[in-house]
Amino acid sequence: MDVILFLVFAIIAVVCAINVVVQTHPISSAVSLIGVMGSLAILYLLLGAEFIAAAQVIVYAGAVMVLFIFVIMLLNAGTEVRRGRSLMVQALGVPLLIALLGVLAFFVQRLYPQGTVHFGGFRGGTALAIGRALFTTYLLPFEITSILILIAIVGAIVLARKELD
């Protein structure tokens, strides 16, 4: 049962990710990215990370991607125009990426061959556990991140406002 769930949502994630890279219109890429984030949220649930799964849907899929879609709609981004690129890039690009993928997969298989995941194997991902760790061990990163968000808000407003003449 867990295997079926993993395979279904992993395949959905990979197909949507390929769609993000391949589609010409940014809106289709954005909608596919929402699909990737949704299937990743379900994989997080399989790994026992219930709070992070909910946070992924609320923050990433529900706020960051809405921001992307707003910007695409406001700028009325059209489909991308293909320009010519050099022959060396075209010949070497995809094979090098496949080589990178092969290297990563090899190291994954070699370093961590055992260990299995089943639903319910890790029960420590509750909001209680995360809250406890967040406000004791990770208090300094928490405070710094909140200042970072404040800086980001002020920066975004300053950059995107209309100039008052």
Partner: protein, 394 residues
């Protein structure tokens, strides 16, 4: 081998789905009647007794209308948007508890489809995904009015999600749990234990902020400029017809039901009676129905229109029978909590309709200024004060 858990859950899903769909249809009837009576006119009363078959007529009309897909729309997004809207709206009902644990034919089960221990966050997550139905509908329609309506509506919904989340966080500090069932069970006792009146800081402000943000989240008056008929043609659902248009409508009403249920669970004590059953609170529902039945019988005898001579006494008899059913001890275990839950949710839904019939709508810049400059700081202040008082008194 299918075990009883799967069978019971499937039966619960079918029951909840059937009841929810009927409620959605009749909620529209109730809204039209309430707004009509506020405006001193009868409302729908020709189709069936007192217009009770009007939703059926509307459903038949919407289903048989021509389903026109304009040629200039972006087809995948155009077809996916209403599907997304209605799916997210119905998904959040699956974690709402309607009552305590009951036992049916020897199997005990919760009156809830599933009790997640991140229930509150799940409802928030699903409602933030509901923004996409509207934004993508506006974009896919390839129409500047639809796009404007879609963008405005999504900007409004994500802006009001902030005070909504902060208003939800405050009673969670008092109840200390994210599971909706445990939240209600911690408010048991009497009216004085409900979150709106209990705890080191009564959550009245959170309740009001939650309701205001809920009005904006569901695009209801006074925040319904994005779908205003006289400002933006029809907003984001201009290019939709028949069942897709009906999906957006159903999604709006389902969202209304969800936020009313959340307000009931978070603030008003869910299915808990206002005072314990030992002091006679189980006689309140039969009393209410008996009074309603007697009023209906009285109006049947002094009828204003000729058809009322038959319909009002019929309703009076039905209400008296329901009052009698409430007195049977067999059904009291699950019927009484269900009654209290529906009464509280129904009161909040009535408030939604009452405000729709009474208030004018906000202009868009007033709406956005209201949330960012007033509601969000007030919600943060409320959360700070609640947190401080909870820490002080614990």
């Amino acid at each position: 081998m299918i075990d009883s858990f799967v069978v019971i859950t499937l039966i619960k899903v079918l029951v909840v789905f059937a009841v929810l769909m009927t409620t959605l249809a009749y909620l529209q009837w109730v809204e039209r009647k309430v707004i009509a009576h506020i405006q001193v006119r009868p409302g729908p009363y020709r189709v069936g007794p007192h217009g009770l078959l009007q939703p059926l007529a509307d459903v038949i009309k919407l289903v048989t209308k021509e389903d026109l897909v304009p040629p200039y729309v972006n087809k995948p997004l155009y077809l996916a948007a209403p599907f997304l809207a209605i799916t997210m709206a119905l998904l959040s009902i699956s974690v709402i508890p309607f009552g305590p644990e009951i036992s049916v034919a020897g199997h005990s089960t919760l009156m809830q489809l599933t009790d997640l221990n991140i229930g509150v966050v799940f409802v928030l997550a699903v409602s933030s995904m509901g923004v996409y139905g509207i934004a993508l509908a506006g974009w896919a329609s390839n129409n500047k009015y639809a796009l404007l309506g879609g963008l405005r509506s999504s900007a409004q919904m994500i802006s009001y999600e902030l005070p909504l989340s902060l208003a939800i966080a405050a009673p969670l500090l008092i109840s200390n749990t994210l599971s909706l069932r445990t939240l209600v069970e911690r408010q048991s006792g009497s009216v004085l234990h409900w979150n709106v009146l209990h705890g080191p800081f009564p959550q009245i402000f959170s309740f009001i902020i939650f309701l205001i943000a809920a009005f904006a989240e569901t695009n209801r008056v006074p925040f319904d400029l994005p779908e205003a008929e006289n400002e933006l043609v029809a907003g984001f659902h201009t290019e939709y017809s028949s069942m897709k248009f009906a999906s957006f409508f159903m999604a709006e009403y389902a969202n209304m039901i969800t936020v009313s249920c959340m307000a009931t669970l978070l603030f008003l004590g869910g299915w808990m009676a206002p005072w314990p059953a030992a002091y006679g609170s189980s006689l309140v529902p039969p009393a209410i129905f008996a009074i309603a039945g007697l009023i209906a019988l009285y109006h049947g005898l002094n009828y204003a229109r000729k058809r009322d001579k038959y319909t009002f006494p019929a309703f009076g008899v039905i209400f008296l029978i329901i009052a009698g059913i409430f007195l049977l001890p067999i059904v009291q275990a699950w019927l009484l909590p269900l009654f209290w839950f529906c009464a509280k949710t129904g009161a909040i839904l009535f408030a939604f309709m009452w405000i729709r019939g009474t208030l004018p709508r906000f202009r868009y810049d007033q709406l956005m200024g209201f949330t960012w400059k007033f509601l969000f700081p007030v919600a943060m202040l409320n959360l700070l004060v609640t947190g401080f008082l909870v820490a002080w008194f614990s």
